[in-house]
């Protein structure tokens, strides 16, 4: 699986909807949905910065490395 985005957990913790976050970081809801469902191939530093700013977190809270063996389990 590789890099996993923990956006749904963070949104749940912050009591924020995807639509609200999309408006705050100025990214379309479609793109945020791609990010949330781990379909994105890359993330820009500017997007990461905006997400960390609005979610009040560190990049490490948003991104997680999942090894192939663990993801298969």
């Amino acid at each position: 699986m590789g890099i996993k985005i923990n956006l749904d957990h963070l949104l749940l913790d912050r009591q924020m909807t995807l639509t609200e976050l999309a408006e705050r970081v100025d990214v379309t809801i479609v793109n945020l949905s791609i990010l949330k469902t781990n379909k994105a191939k890359a993330i820009r530093f500017s997007t990461l910065e905006a997400l960390c700013r609005e979610l009040k977190c560190q990049p490490g809270d948003l991104l997680e490395f999942v090894s192939e063996v663990r993801s298969k389990k």
Binding site: V27, N31, L32, I34, L35, K39, A40, K41, A42, I43, R44, T47
Partner: protein
């Protein structure tokens, strides 16, 4: 002058490609209908078939009566220059044929070629459609279409060479035209095969472009 989009060079090319594809498909249909009538048609019928041949210029007739067995031809001794001849002519022959199998072979070959041309042009039409609609041409389908076009050009060229070889073989066995020698070896069009290889390389470029475009569109 716009190259891509509506009312552009791409749209004009797309129109003519569509027209040619339709013409080829219609031609294949008409040929199929004609082929069905072959068993009942009165023979002989004239068949036009592609051939390649060498044309020897005949010795000059100096006198006598041609066809009566006494002609005075110009003769050249060995040191004298040979008369010029025209080699490797690609053309077509029109011959009255009484063999229904030969007629059927030509009909089937024509249908296969026309259907193949129509299908190949429909693939090209697919590539052009994405350009006319103003969308990115770097889609996986276009890479596959271009790969098919490249292979079609190569296989089509080899198929036509095979057809011409068969026609030449038939002509050598059945026709006796003075000065005309039908080729006894298949004539492969390396130029066309080279174009096909270039299209295959472009298809690979499109595949790489598609991957880049996908990466770019999935970068958030």
């Amino acid at each position: 002058m716009r190259i891509l989009g509506r009312w552009s060079v791409a749209s004009v090319v797309s129109f003519f490609v569509s027209l040619t594809a339709f013409g080829a498909a219609f031609g294949a249909f008409i040929s199929f209908c004609v082929l069905l009538a072959v068993p009942w048609v009165r023979l002989p019928i004239t068949v036009t078939a592609p051939v390649t041949f060498t044309l020897d210029t005949p010795n000059e007739i100096l006198g006598g009566r041609p066809g009566w067995g006494f002609e005075f031809r110009e003769t050249r001794r060995p040191p004298a220059p040979r008369p010029p001849n025209v080699q490797r002519i690609a053309g077509s022959m029109r011959v009255p044929v009484t063999n229904r199998w030969f007629i059927a072979f030509n009909g089937i070959a024509l249908i296969v070629i026309l259907a193949f041309v129509a299908y190949t042009l429909s693939k090209l039409q697919g590539v052009l459609r994405t350009l006319v609609r103003g969308k990115t041409p770097f889609v996986p389908a276009n890479a596959a279409r271009l790969r098919f076009l490249g292979l079609a050009v190569i296989i089509g060229s080899l198929f036509v060479s095979a057809i011409v070889f068969v026609e030449n073989t038939w002509a050598r066995a059945n026709l006796d035209l003075p000065g005309v020698t039908f080729d006894d070896l298949p004539r492969i069009d390396f130029g066309t095969i080279f174009y096909g290889l270039i299209i295959l390389v472009i298809a690979e470029v499109f595949r790489a472009g598609t991957e880049l475009d996908e990466d770019q569109s999935l970068t958030i």
